[in-house]
């Protein structure tokens, strides 16, 4: 389950945000603190998470203190499903 979520998130981020569809992100790679996901794309990520996994992320949670890697985001999603 966890790996599947990670994979779905990775594909979405690579395609929609990074515009590099072929790219695979490492599960422990910093995303927000590294600037890989910029602030303008955080809303897109939240909307995707909500539509795909039915989990709501509050805008106050869209920062690297709440999650910075795919592993952390997937864990957050699982804990709320």
């Amino acid at each position: 389950m966890h790996d599947e979520i990670v994979q779905q998130l990775s594909a979405q981020i690579a395609t929609a945000i990074l515009k590099q569809p072929g790219k695979t992100l490492k599960p422990d790679q910093p995303l927000i603190s590294s600037g890989l996901i910029d602030s303008f794309s955080l809303v897109d990520l939240a909307l995707f998470v909500e539509d795909t996994f039915g989990v709501h992320l509050d805008d106050a949670e869209l920062n690297s203190d709440t999650f910075d890697t795919l592993d952390q985001l997937a864990a957050l999603i699982e804990s709320r499903q």
Binding site: K19, I32, S34, G35, S39, V43, L47, A60, N63
Partner: protein, 562 residues
């Protein structure tokens, strides 16, 4: 003629209990600040500047996050008679070394006497201060107690002459930080009085802004103007807005907001990324002037915004335009106030190849230009050719200005100041044309890319890309390409590399993205690696960027055709 401090104190004496601004921060209750609160906070800072030995007329660089400290430290510097300038605070993604070097480059030209920051950031700030520099004091915001009863005997700001410099404005990156726009009390107040008339400002108006205060649009329209002219301000944080754009709509609803300024991309962003459930109860019917400003304005962006929010009471007449620049304090023109914004559909080829804005004919490719409106009453606008001679209507040339609210100078840059003026006219570096009084902005001569309202300079981005192993100096170019979906320019970097190894090329492209993203105000997505001798070389960096942008666009178009 009053100065800033006299005006602020007058507001305090006339309306001590009036709310000057309401600060909205995510997760906290809305916090109103009355003129009494503002004066107290500012006076506490004035006292702190005095204790620290900062003198009137000296420059104070504020390195603080968007919030109360920044507001009080700014007005405190004004009241003290010092010259404040806001440096964007370090963001998480920015590399500390890069930030330090930006700060050092600001310090080297501006030569401020004082830096203000947080305790946590003090060592970082001190590290940017070279030995023997102008900086005498690093003040910490934690040391300033704003709860004490201030002494309003005679703050130094009251003594400042109207023609003295009141503030400095910088844009980002090494290049931007080395060119501080110095504005006088008189210039700013002339702008505010004229612009207030243009906007038909009345007591019942409410400004709602989420813009950062280090940018002229946020600082002048979304901070100084409402506070000095006693128009209530609702101030959101740019960090909150970008994560939850619906907060703007909710704030307009709750506070019956009437005026806002937005960069073009924000129209697309709001139209695309706000969910219906976050618009429950939203009523935008109070919004009477929403000015599109600070980056190229698009008809399609206005339409998308209107279509999305008309069901929530948005009036089409509220969609206005504005052409502004820090060098004229803020507004140069304003459109959409007394008549709808004019749309001029022109022939695309004539625009590109003949520099003519010919009305489009049936069947020819055309561009819908949004008028930036007409010059505000204290500002004259003319269009000139390369030899600075006036050109006629519908000829595209450089926009030149003359007004009573121009910058005093680029601070400590007599070279740049002299270059910017020709026979009393300020050359903006923007291309445009006129039709009667209407001004249309049609491109840029100056070397700047505007990404989501932020100005970045290609040479700074190229410098960063050259740091990557495998990329060579002089063999990389950066330019902006407008993205219609996003409503703003995106940066593209093209670099020549020798290696044919796919793996190595991927490493280089990734490192360029990372180095530029972590070293600048933007997030870089588009990197094209090409073989040696792909790039077109010309004598000037500017021409090389334009030629290579054309080559890039042709190549992309060809690839998309296949």
């Amino acid at each position: 003629m009053l100065n800033f401090s006299q005006l602020l104190l007058e507001n305090y004496r006339d309306a001590p209990d009036k709310t000057a601004l309401t600060v909205l921060l995510s997760g906290k209750p809305d916090q109103p600040i009355t003129y009494t609160d503002l004066i107290r906070g500012a006076a506490a800072w004035d006292a702190a500047y005095t204790r620290a030995g900062v003198l009137p007329g000296e420059v104070v660089i504020l390195i603080l996050q968007h919030g109360f400290d920044l507001i009080y430290a700014y007005w405190g510097a004004i009241l003290h008679g010092a010259i404040p300038s806001i440096m964007p605070f370090l963001t998480e993604k920015l590399q500390p070394e890069r930030y330090r070097s930006d700060l050092a480059s600001l310090i080297s030209i501006t030569r401020p006497e004082c830096l203000v920051t947080y305790r946590e950031f003090a060592s970082e700030a001190r590290a940017a201060v070279p030995d023997g520099s102008s900086v005498r004091v690093v003040m910490l915001s934690e040391d300033v107690d704003i709860s004490i009863t201030p002494d309003l005997a005679a703050p130094g700001g009251l003594e400042r002459a109207p023609e003295s410099i009141v503030l400095l404005q910088h844009s980002s990156g090494t290049t931007g930080l080395q060119k501080g726009v110095a504005l006088s009390h008189q210039a700013v107040l002339n702008q505010l009085r004229t612009y207030a008339k243009t906007l038909h400002l009345v007591d019942s108006d409410v400004v709602v802004s989420w813009l950062p205060l280090y940018h002229d649009m946020g600082l002048i329209a979304g901070f100084l103007m409402p506070i000095l002219l006693r128009i209530p301000l609702v101030l959101l944080s740019p960090f909150d807005w970008v994560r939850a754009p619906y907060r703007l709509m909710q704030a307009v609803t709750h506070y019956k907001g009437t005026l806002s300024w937005l960069p073009n991309f924000a129209y697309n962003f709001c139209a695309q990324k706000i969910r219906d459930r976050d618009l429950q109860g939203v009523d935008l019917s109070s919004w009477r002037v929403i000015s599109n400003c600070s980056e190229p304005m698009r008809y399609a962006s206005h339409q998308a915004f209107y279509e999305r929010f008309k069901a929530y009471g948005l009036k089409e007449s509220a969609l206005c335009t504005c052409y502004a620049m820090a060098e004229n304090v803020f507004a140069v023109t304003q459109g959409g106030l007394d008549a709808p914004v004019m749309v001029d559909e022109i022939d695309r080829d004539a625009m590109q190849s003949q520099k003519l804005a010919k009305p489009a004919e049936e069947g020819n490719a055309s561009v819908k230009m949004l008028s930036a409106g007409i010059p505000i009453s204290n500002t004259q606008v003319k269009i000139v050719d390369e030899r600075h001679r006036d050109v006629g209507d519908r000829t595209i040339g450089e926009v030149a200005l003359h007004s009573d609210c121009m910058l005093t100078e680029y601070y400590h840059r007599p070279d740049a100041t002299a270059k910017a003026f020709t026979r009393g006219w300020f050359l903006t570096g923007d291309y445009g044309y006129k039709v009667g009084d209407q001004v249309y902005v049609a491109g840029r001569k100056k070397e700047m890319i505007i990404v989501g309202g932020k100005n970045v300079y290609p040479m700074d981005l190229e410098e960063l890309a050259m740091q990557v192993k495998g990329v060579h100096p002089g063999r990389v170019v950066a330019f902006g390409v407008f993205n219609e979906t996003v409503g703003t320019e995106e940066v593209v970097i093209v670099a020549e590399v020798e290696t044919r190894s796919q793996e190595e090329r991927e490493r280089i492209a990734d490192e360029i993205r990372q180095t530029v993203t972590r070293g600048s105000a933007i997030a870089l997505r588009h990197v094209l690696l090409v073989e040696p001798r792909w790039l077109i070389k010309t004598s000037s960096g500017k021409n090389a960027r334009m030629a290579n942008k054309d080559k890039y666009l042709k190549q992309i178009a060809k690839e998309n055709d296949i």
